[in-house]
């Protein structure tokens, strides 16, 4: 899979305040989710990729083209849907989308046709002659999507595309994004704080925290991985010795609260082995669930263990385990 975005020690500073701190990594998914709490640097990263903010140091490449030296070529291959309401006032939607198509380089003779097609695609076909000012919030979001895709970009950057949408419009937006992703003609970078949106659309995620990469995970691989995730609820006995023994079997584990243990079973380990260990340490297993690592788990793990201050990028690709600097499993991380 070719890399869509490559980050190379990318740093951005506003005044004296560092916003993005030495980001490194390569993103190659069909749809990449950009996650992080408010102020993590998601939108700043997008703006830097689009050339709105110059990098203080380092650089990034989109489809192999440098964002600083080949800014125009980069922007020609990108479609951008901003987070906030953005449109040209006092124009009909078709006029607006057509203008955007022409500014992207499409000749006037084709631009109108493309504008109609894009508006029909997003479901605004019947309302395309109305001024954008008169649209509802959901329609404005769809119009923004139309202008982002009208020139057929190779990478579509969507910044909070479902913000403020009612459930039916949100589901329409998600379905459009998935349709574009599955069509294979364009890659998607989706920034959102709604984990559900990202989980439904993306196959790779990049979690940012305090301007650093807290996690970079291929969800598709995670989903496909033949790993057994087990959640145990225990009572009594020597819990510490029990989890030590589980570790001794070669299983990766994490403690969640006082009673719960999450672990990844190795191929050679059977469920009965866990019961034997529990018996040895007088631990009661009250509940045993097979559990897959959800995006929420990955996100929360990343938030707890972002190591923002140490500049350490943590990968959860293998084993779904966040390890700290000395390689020890973190408590309650999984």
């Amino acid at each position: 899979m070719t890399n869509v975005i490559e980050l190379e020690q990318l740093s951005v500073t506003f005044g004296r305040r560092p916003i993005l701190k030495s980001l490194n990594g390569a993103l190659g998914g069909r749809a990449i989710g950009l996650l992080g709490p408010n102020g993590a640097g998601k939108t700043s990263l997008i703006h830097t990729l689009l050339g709105f903010h110059p990098p203080t140091s380092g650089t990034a490449r989109i489809f192999g083209q440098d964002i600083t030296t080949d800014a125009k070529q980069v922007r020609a291959t990108v479609g951008y849907m901003p987070e906030r309401d953005s449109f040209i006032a006092k124009t009909s939607c078709v006029h607006f989308v057509r203008l955007m198509a022409e500014l992207s380089g499409i000749p006037a003779s084709h631009a109108l046709e493309r504008a109609h097609e894009a508006l029909f695609f997003v479901g605004l076909g019947e309302a395309r002659y109305r001024p954008v000012d008169s649209y509802s919030l959901g329609m404005k979001q769809l119009a923004k999507l139309a202008q982002a895709i009208v020139h057929g970009p190779k990478l579509i950057i969507l910044d909070e595309p479902t913000n403020g949408l009612d459930p039916p419009t949100r589901s329409r937006m998600i379905s459009l994004i998935r349709q574009i992703r599955d069509g294979g003609r364009a890659r998607i970078l989706l920034s959102s704080h709604l984990l559900r949106d990202v989980e439904e659309c993306c196959d790779e995620i990049l979690v940012l925290k305090d301007g650093q990469i807290a996690a970079n995970c291929n969800l598709e691989e995670e989903r496909k991985a033949n790993r057994k995730f087990i959640e145990l609820e225990t009572r009594g006995g020597d819990r510490a010795a029990f989890v030590e023994a589980i570790g001794g079997l070669g299983c990766e584990y994490a403690l969640s609260g006082e009673r719960r243990i999450k672990l990844i079973m190795q191929e050679t380990v059977e469920i009965s082995d866990l019961y034997h260990l529990a018996l040895e340490h007088s631990v009661q297993i009250r509940r045993l669930n097979f559990k897959r690592d959800s995006l929420e788990d990955i996100f929360l793990k990343a938030m707890e263990n972002g190591n923002a201050g140490e500049g350490m990028n943590v990968s959860v690709n293998n084993g779904n385990q966040i390890k700290n600097g000395n390689g020890r499993a973190n408590d309650g991380g999984l």
Binding site: F14, G15, R17, H47, L50, G51, F52, H53, A71, K72, Q73, R75, A76, V78, Y80, P82, R84, D85, S86, F87, I88, A89, K90, T91, H95, L99, M100, E102, L103, S104, G105, I106, P107, A108, H110, R114, H116, E117, A118, F120, F121, G125, Q147, I149, H151, G152, P153, K154, Q179, I180, G183, R185, A186
Partner: protein, 309 residues
């Protein structure tokens, strides 16, 4: 991607030249501009003086028409540098009115609707965006200033013959550059104002104020201190000096005041004060500084997103 298929598809056709991409902006903007009936009316009024000037030129060379109208050719305005200077002054005043009507919403509307990220996320730089917006004003004002000016010049040349043309060839540059300096100044000032003020009415008022308030203040300074240096802060007066310079009609001394001092020892003393206009190079420098300031302001304001430090 076809309308009936409702599918997403990439564009695989040809792209238009990156160099001329900024011209898309004036093409769309001018279409919007001419939807206003008020503007269309004023735009038409802008052509009355060129029409009158053209008739004058025609009468100069048509003895039959003069005889029919019972006018002596000496009663008509001579077709010389001062004729074209007046033409430039009148048309540039109309150009100012057009600018006040057209320019204020050009950038402010994009700023208030957050449209700048949409422009700048495309293969269009900030400079090209400003150039595109500037082109709206430049095209509009050119059509009422130097284009009709040169048409009248060549009309006169065609009637007066080659000798007149070769003697007055320098006026082509005077007409063109005189109008272009005014157009560039107006467009940069108007865009700078538009990038700072989101309300159209306020922006129009500010633009009017920029021209009239310093002019009035300059006149007060002139009268109080018996000088002409007050013209330095008046854009209109400064441009007048430049136009006069371009047409070879610039005179530094534009007046003289005879004063009287009553001295108890020597009785009364009379003195003469020559009122000297600022030198031409100072006028050029002043206009260049204003333009540079506007470019700097635009570079600060025209950004996809404003970073608050």
């Amino acid at each position: 991607m076809a309308v009936y298929e409702h599918l997403y598809g990439a564009y695989e056709g040809e792209s238009h030249s990156a160099l001329s991409r900024f011209l898309v902006i004036p093409r769309y903007a001018l279409r919007e501009v001419f939807k206003s009936k008020l503007l269309v009316t004023i735009f038409i009024l802008c052509f009355i003086y060129p029409l009158v000037a053209m008739i004058l030129v025609y009468l100069h060379h048509n003895a039959n028409a003069l005889a029919l109208l019972q006018i002596n050719v000496r009663e008509l305005l001579p077709i010389d540098a001062s004729f074209f200077l007046t033409f430039v002054q009148v048309q540039c005043a109309f150009a100012f009115i057009l600018t006040v009507l057209v320019a204020p919403p050009l950038i402010s509307r994009d700023l208030s609707n957050n449209a700048l990220p949409l422009y700048l996320c495309r293969p269009l730089s900030r400079a090209e965006y400003v150039l595109g917006k500037m082109a709206v004003i430049v095209f509009l004002l050119s059509s009422v200033t130097w284009i009709p000016g040169l048409l009248i010049f060549f009309f006169q040349a065609s009637l007066a013959g080659f000798a007149w043309l070769s003697a007055n060839l320098w006026m082509i540059w005077a007409i063109f550059s005189g109008c272009m300096v005014w157009i560039i100044l107006l467009s940069l000032l108007a865009l700078a104002v538009s990038s700072f003020l989101k309300w159209r009415v306020v922006a129009s008022g500010a633009l009017l104020g920029l021209f009239f308030v310093p002019s009035a203040f300059g006149e007060i300074v002139n009268n109080l201190f018996l000088t002409r240096n007050g013209h330095l802060i008046s854009l209109w007066a400064t441009m007048n000096s430049i136009w006069r310079g371009l047409f070879g009609l610039f005179v530094r001394q534009t007046g003289q005041i005879r004063g009287k001092i009553t001295n108890p020892i020597y009785d009364e003393q009379f003195f003469n004060v020559a009122l000297l206009e600022p030198p031409l190079w100072v006028s050029w420098l002043f206009i260049a500084l204003i333009c540079a300031l506007c470019v700097w302001l635009l570079s600060r304001k025209v950004r996809a997103y404003e970073v608050i430090k």
